[in-house]
Symmetry: C2
Subunit: 340 residues, 2 copies
C-alpha cells in the first residue's frame, strides 16, 4: 500500500493526501501522440537509465512498471492507488512508470507528456511534495534536456500545462460541508481563484464518499512555490470550515450524527452485498465518526486502506479472478467485513 | 413477560401465538355501555369472587388488575403484551382484568361485554387455547348465570359476537409472502371463507413487521370446535406456503436475502435512533434470518422479547419516565443494542 494509505500526515482529519505533478518533455522529440514505438522505447530507456544510474540514494528504490507487462486488473489497481493515470494505463505500447518502494513517487513515461513526475504524500504536505518533485526533476535534468522556452517555460503536449508544468492537488474529506450544502460555497470560491474541484479519480469523476480533489488550474504565470502556497492556504481555510461545521453538527445534531455513523459502521460490518458507491458513502460516514471520536476502535489508516481495497482492481487482484459486478459486490462486502 | 413471548410453541418459525377470546355476559344485567358504577363494581366482585373461591388450582394464580389503579404507561404495557384490549384500558371506572401468573389467561371484566375470557399461547395452539378457555368458562358458570338464548347462543353487546361468542386468532410472521406480494392471495382466500386479516394490534392496525393476525369473523352458526379447526387448517396452509416461498427465496436469492437479514441485524446492533416502525421491520428481517438459520446467535424468544420491549409502553415503564417521541427513539435503540 502507498504511504498516503498506510500513514497519516498533517491535518489528516480532513486532508487525505497531497500531490504534485510536473509535466516535462524531451527536447527535439515529438510529443507522445506523434511518437513511433522505437522513439517511445528510446524515451523510456533514457529516463530509466538516468534514474538507475543517478548519483543518489533514490536509484535503488525504483521499480520499472511497463504497461504492456501488466494485465488489465493490475493496471486498474495502480490507478486506484493513485500511482498512475488512466491515460497511462491505456498506453500499452510505450507507457511505463518508475515507482519507488514507498510509493510516494511515480515517474510516468509516455503519458500525455514524455515525463510526468508525480509525488504523493499523506495529509496536507504540498511543499514537501514539491521538494520531492524538484529532487527528481533535478536528477532527470542531469542527463535529459527538457523542452523549455525562456518566455513560456516548460513546453507541454497540452497548452494548459505550459509554464511551470506543475499541477498541485489535495484530496479532502468534506462530509460536513457536503451534508449541509455549504460545499457549493467552496466550489464558487475555488473557481473564482482558478482552482478546480473534482472527484476522487480526477476530471469527470463523481464526488464519491464526500471526497474532493482540489487543484490549481493555472500553470502559466506565477512560480510553482506561489502556486503551491496559494493552494495550501485555501486548503487550510476549507479545512477550518469543515471542522467548524463538524463541531456545529456535533453540538446541535449529536444523536442524528451518532446514529448515522454507527449505522454505517454496523452495515459495513454486516452487509453481504456492497456496491462501490454505497461502500464509499458508508466509509465516508465511518471516517467522520472516527474523526469526531464517536467511533474509537477503527484507525484512519484502516479506513484509507478500505478506500483502496474496495475498488474493482484491488478486489480482483486480491481474489485473483475476473469478477462480474455482482461477484465484486459480494467479495467487496466480504473483504470489508474481514477488514473491520 | 407472557408465555407467548418467553416460550416457543408448535410451528414457531411462523406462528408467534394463538388466541381464543370468549365473550360472555351476565343474565339480567345491562350491557357494559349502560352500566352504572355500582353495577360495574358488582360484576367485577362476582367474577373476582368466583375465581378466588373456585375449587381449582387456578385460583391462586390470578392477580386482579384494576384499570383505575394502573397509570397510562402500565395500561399501555398490558396492551403491548396482548393481555388486555385498548377498549378495556380506556375503561378506568369499572374495567379490570384477572391475569394468571404465566400470563396465558386474562379474564377481562367490563370491556365491551361483562366478561371476556382470553387465552393466549405460544405457536399454533388453538385447540389448547380453547380447552383452557373452556375450563375458565366452566369455572365461572359454576356461580354466574350467563345471558344465553337457546336459539342464538350467548348474547353479546355487539351482535357480531352473538352465538358461540368465540373469536379465535393466530399471529403469523409472513415475511416471504409479504416480500413477494403473494400475501394478497392470502387476503383473498381468507375473506372468502370468512376470516379476517389484521395487523398486530387488531382492527385498523398496520401490518408492521410483516406480522398478520388471522381470525374468524363468524360466531353464529358452527360450533366453536369446528370454527377453531377451520382456522387451524387454513393457518397450516398459510404456514406451508410461507415455508415454500422462504425455501424458494433461499435457493434463488440467497445472497440478497443474507444481505437483507445481516444488514437488519447490523443496524439493530448499532443504530442510535429507532422508530418503532423501522425497528419492527428490522426485527422481522432478523426473525427471518434466524428461522432460515442464516443467523445463529439470536433466539426466537429474544426476538419475541424485542417485539414487546420496543413498544412505547414497555420503554416508558423500563426507563421509568414519560418520554417524548425522539427520547423513545433513542431509548429504543439503546434497549435493542443492550438486548442484542
Amino acid at each position: 500500500m502507498p504511504k498516503w494509505v498506510k500513514e497519516i500526515g498533517p491535518e489528516s482529519d480532513i486532508a487525505i493526501s497531497s500531490r504534485i505533478r510536473m509535466a516535462r518533455n524531451i527536447e527535439s522529440m515529438p510529443f507522445p501522440n506523434d511518437l513511433n514505438e522505437a522513439q517511445s522505447k528510446n524515451i523510456l530507456e533514457m529516463v530509466h537509465h538516468t534514474i538507475t544510474n543517478a548519483n543518489s540514494s533514490f536509484k535503488k528504490e525504483f521499480e520499472l512498471i511497463e504497461m504492456n507487462r501488466q494485465d488489465k486488473i493490475e493496471r486498474l489497481n495502480y490507478i486506484e492507488k493513485h500511482l498512475i493515470s488512466p491515460a497511462l494505463a491505456q498506453n500499452t505500447t510505450g507507457g511505463a512508470a518508475l515507482i519507488n518502494k514507498e510509493e510516494t513517487i511515480s515517474i510516468m513515461v509516455n503519458e500525455e507528456d514524455h515525463i510526468r513526475i508525480q509525488c504523493l504524500l499523506p495529509g496536507l504536505q504540498l511543499t514537501e511534495c514539491l521538494d520531492l518533485g524538484n529532487k527528481i526533476d533535478d536528477l532527470l535534468e542531469e542527463s535529459i534536456r527538457y523542452s523549455f522556452d525562456e518566455n513560456l517555460g516548460y513546453l507541454t503536449s497540452c497548452p494548459t500545462n505550459v509554464g511551470t508544468g506543475v499541477r498541485a492537488s489535495v484530496m479532502l474529506h468534506l462530509p460536513a460541508l457536503s451534508l449541509t450544502g455549504y460545499i457549493n460555497g467552496v466550489f464558487n470560491v475555488a473557481s473564482k481563484i482558478g482552482l478546480a474541484v473534482r472527484g476522487i479519480y480526477g476530471e469527470g469523476s463523481q464526488y464519491t464518499g464526500n471526497i474532493y480533489q482540489i487543484s490549481n488550474q493555472i500553470t502559466l504565470g506565477p512560480p510553482e512555490e506561489e502556486l503551491v502556497s496559494t493552494l495550501h492556504d485555501v486548503t487550510m481555510q476549507i479545512i477550518q470550515n469543515e471542522r467548524a461545521v463538524r463541531e456545529h453538527l456535533l453540538a446541535s445534531k449529536n444523536i442524528e450524527l451518532s446514529d448515522r455513523v454507527f449505522r454505517a459502521y454496523g452495515i459495513l460490518k454486516s452487509a453481504r452485498l456492497l456496491t462501490s458507491t454505497e461502500a464509499m458513502q458508508l466509509i465516508s460516514d465511518l471516517r467522520l465518526g472516527v474523526n469526531l471520536n464517536l467511533i474509537q476502535d477503527v484507525s484512519i489508516e484502516k479506513i484509507n486502506e478500505l478506500m483502496v481495497t474496495i475498488q474493482p482492481g484491488y478486489l480482483q487482484k486480491y481474489f485473483n479472478s475476473d469478477l462480474s459486478g455482482i461477484e465484486r459486490d459480494i467479495k467487496r462486502a466480504q473483504l470489508v467485513r474481514e477488514t473491520l
